[in-house]
């Protein structure tokens, strides 16, 4: 076992292989930063290039791309409120407010270092779990997926404290649009109004580009000026400031990495939910949850650590069963098969060196990308000083072009436009956007897995009570629901004890 890890690592030390990791990293950073592109596009475009490469080198290249995409995506999320990739949408929530306060450098530094630590923790977990991956993955079936999705939805919903009703409204709206399109269970289309495009439902990435990037640009246009207000507002941060910030919040990093690793190993939820889940749990656990959404650096660290850890551990179901965790992994599966490696139970036996090489490449790329991010912090932070009359047209055209480029359909652009206006209105009237994203991702999961559970259990609910993980998840849901009640009770008791206490 150990020598396989090492030989995977040794394989990377060849100059040509290493150069391909670096090439992959550079491409991943750029594709990650441009909304709509992302890892799946990058790997699809690179595929023909890999035909002439050794499988090991091809995987190193792919690992390089996958490792640096989150870093690229976080940069645009922080500077422009434009999630480069779907999971980075969670980074926008606090990353962009930090940029508005002139702390973009700090946020990027924190994102980068959280990324790197998350990847390292994720890698260690993967290496530890991979030998028993088969058994772990098989423990989770439709009842568990259903409950996990409900759990995630509830955690995120209860994290919007103080705006509970607004959170529920946007969550319900997200669920409504999640059911547009083809019905996986019974067949036939729903709410598509004869529009062919809607057969696949509302696509997540164009919607996200609208909700975050376009909405923010409308806001900036109305407000005028630049992202960070004035030049004097931009704090000259040292390269290492963000790094230190991450180490100050090591607990947040660990929690995020743990969430990312655990959920990544189980196919079904995906990176976007993981990022929002990690963000919400961190906000829940925080002593001053009110500071989230207004520029709390923990709101950057938590999702970024989770995304990278998730990407590492998502390799487990992808490699051992050929079940891709997201679009990026689906393309990556194609790459494996083209190079004669069939993902599945035999993958671990027949291609160990390649797998460990891939994992090392992914981690190395994540760490290098963070260094690149850190090195350019000061230059990047200047973007927040560009006047809106220049910035808005640039970002808007990139956003719409990126949205079109996803699958060359003009309807994507329309979705981005509609969600842009919607997102702006939500910002304006203070409706939380995170619920809409999570509901949109999880709506289909919840319906499908509930339906499958009921079919498995021949129409009875007892299936949920006869499986131990399922019972554990139900108890967790009860606990999460009870938490705000206890908190309120606790506060009342405290208020009664100290009558002059302030309400928060």
């Amino acid at each position: 076992m150990l020598e396989m890890w090492l030989s995977g690592f040794q394989g990377l030390l060849h100059v040509d292989v290493f150069l391909f990791v670096i090439l992959g990293m550079a491409i991943g950073l750029i594709f990650g930063a441009i909304p709509g592109l992302g890892g799946s596009t990058a790997i699809a475009l690179l595929m023909p290039l890999t035909y002439s490469l050794e499988p090991f080198t091809a995987l190193a290249l792919a690992g390089g791309v996958m490792g640096s995409v989150p870093m690229g995506g976080s940069i645009t999320s922080i500077l422009l409120n434009t999630p480069g990739t779907a999971p980075n949408a969670a980074t926008c929530l606090d990353g962009h407010p930090l940029a508005q306060q002139g702390k973009a450098g700090l946020a990027i530094g924190a994102a980068g270092s959280a990324n790197a630590i998350g990847a390292i923790i994720g890698t260690i977990s993967v290496l530890a779990v991979l030998p028993i991956a088969n058994d772990v993955v098989l423990l989770f079936g439709p009842p568990e997926f259903f409950l996990m999705s409900v759990f995630a939805l509830i955690v995120v919903a209860t994290a919007t404290r103080g705006k509970m009703l607004r959170g529920l409204v946007t969550g319900a709206f997200g669920l409504m649009i999640a059911y547009i399109g083809y019905n996986d269970i019974a067949g036939g289309e729903r709410f598509t109004y004869n529009i062919e495009y809607l057969w696949d439902g509302i696509h997540l990435v164009p919607a996200l580009i609208g909700l975050f990037a376009v909405a923010q640009m409308i806001h900036l246009m109305v407000k005028g000026g630049s992202v960070a207000g004035s030049a004097s507002a931009v704090k000259i941060t040292k390269m290492t400031a963000g790094l230190f910030e991450t180490f100050k919040h090591l607990g947040t990093v660990l929690r995020g990495s743990l969430i990312g690793t655990t959920v990544g190993a189980i196919p079904g939820l995906g990176g976007t939910v993981v990022a929002f889940l990690s963000y919400s749990v961190t906000a829940q656990a925080s002593k001053n949850p009110e500071s989230f959404g207004k520029g709390n650096v923990q709101g950057v660290i938590a999702p970024e650590a989770a995304i990278c850890a998730h990407d590492c551990s998502a390799l487990i179901p992808t490699l051992t069963f050929g079940i891709p965790a997201g679009a990026e992994m689906a393309v990556f599966l194609g790459l494996l098969i083209i190079h004669g490696m069939q993902p599945g139970p035999l993958m671990l036996r027949d291609h160990q060196v390649e797998i460990y090489g891939l994992i090392w490449a992914l981690t190395a790329s994540c760490v290098f990308a963070s260094f690149v991010g850190l090195a350019f912090v000061r230059v990047l932070a200047k973007i927040t000083l560009i006047d809106s009359s220049i910035l808005v047209p640039l970002v808007l055209s990139t956003a719409f072009a990126g949205s079109y480029a996803i699958d060359m359909s003009i309807e994507n652009v329309v979705v981005t436009g509609v969600f842009g206006v919607l997102g702006y209105l939500m910002m304006r009237y203070d409706y939380p956007r995170l619920m809409i994203v999570v509901a949109l991702v999880l709506g289909g999961n919840i319906e499908r897995n509930l339906h499958q559970s009921m079919l498995m259990g021949e129409g009875g609910w007892s299936i949920f009570f006869s499986r131990s993980i399922s019972i554990f998840l139900m108890l967790s849901i009860v606990a999460v629901l009870a938490l705000p009640l206890f908190r309120a009770l606790f506060r009342q008791l405290k208020l009664r004890a100290v009558p002059v206490g302030s309400d928060s």
């Binding site: 019974a186 194609g334 069939q342 699958d407």
Partner: protein, 336 residues
């Protein structure tokens, strides 16, 4: 509403067509050869439309075969894969159907998947019978009925005995998938009472469902079955092939149900209606040579796929057979 959509699509097409034809016609004016001259074909890159997202089975076949196919074209051009996945694949089919019949746009189609899709969407934007058929990427994939390795069911006879007591639970995709059709028709031909657990996303997903015990059994294509059997996770019980590729199992011949053989997935290569025969011939020959090229043969062997060239005529015959088979079972499929 429906008509309006068609009209809108038509105008869009015309506009694009004008642009494309202008671009194509311009060099033709200066060269003495006509646009349809087979001697000049191919004079520029060929676009290969894949109506599915990158990474799926159809996408992989195209990406493995086309670089080799380029070598066997008379002129040195590239074959460029283009994924048009929107609308569950209908966007890609429509685009292929409406492109210029000059051989520079070809694509891969899932048969009977496209029949099922068209029936479900009620689309009239394309007519599958009118495509120019060029060949097939590999032999048709037939199916096995499998159970998970941990299942108490050991033989097909035991499965049948269970079916007499209660419906067999099968894990499968939604009704749009070819696996759904295979499960439904297969169970009916074999006299099994079936209860379908639908909604799984692709073959790995529904096979794993059977392995971990969501369902009693699963109908999976031959390559998938062989792969998971080697991994010790699936136990095949019966083959839909005329003669089982795993020795010792009951098959279509031994259970006296030759119709099982028609349950298959075909990966057919098509061009828009009306491509001149000489150009079809060039493309078909190049495809045929690519399929027996050592590179493709090696890949096919690693992946339990059988690559066998098909002439355009043979391909048309496959479409006709599959169409008739689909028509026969269509009503049984929609009644769920």
């Amino acid at each position: 509403m429906q008509r309006l959509d068609v009209e809108r699509e038509m105008t869009k097409w015309t506009r694009r067509e004008v642009m494309v034809s202008a671009a194509v016609a311009a060099p033709a004016v200066f060269t003495s050869r006509g646009a349809h001259s087979a001697a000049a074909f191919p004079a520029k890159n060929i676009q290969f439309v894949i109506p599915y997202a990158p990474g799926g089975g159809f996408d992989i076949y195209v990406r493995v075969v086309t670089p080799v196919m380029e070598k066997y074209l008379p002129n040195k051009v590239s074959i460029v894969p283009l994924n048009v996945a929107s609308g569950a694949g209908s966007r890609g089919v429509t685009q292929l159907y409406r492109s210029r019949p000059d051989g520079y746009t070809i694509g891969i189609l899932n048969i009977p998947g496209m029949f099922i899709l068209q029936q479900q969407q009620g689309s009239t934007a394309y007519d599958l019978n009118r495509f120019t058929w060029i060949g097939a990427m590999g032999e048709a994939e037939r199916y096995f009925i499998n159970v998970g390795a941990m299942s108490p069911i050991k033989t097909f006879a035991e499965l049948k005995a269970l079916s007499a007591k209660r419906p067999i639970k099968f894990s499968v995709t939604g009704p749009e998938g070819t696996a759904y059709m295979a499960t439904k028709i297969g169970a009916q031909l074999l006299g099994l009472k079936a209860q379908l657990i639908t909604g799984y996303k692709g073959s790995a997903d529904y096979v794993i469902a059977a392995v971990r015990g969501d369902s009693d059994a699963v109908v999976a294509a031959v390559p998938t079955t062989l792969r998971f059997r080697r991994g010790g996770q699936l136990r095949p019980l019966i083959s839909f092939e005329p003669h089982s590729s795993i020795p010792g199992l009951p098959d279509a011949a031994s259970v006296g149900q030759p119709e099982l053989e028609n349950i298959a997935v075909e990966r057919l290569v098509a061009a828009p209606p009306g491509v001149p025969a000489d150009i079809v011939n060039i493309l078909s020959t190049a495809l045929g040579k690519a399929l027996v090229d050592p590179v493709v043969v090696k890949w096919a062997k690693e992946n339990d796929v059988v690559m066998k060239p098909k002439t355009p005529q043979e391909t048309v015959a496959i479409v006709t057979t599959q169409k008739a088979f689909f028509e026969k079972w269509k009503t049984a499929l929609s009644a769920s």
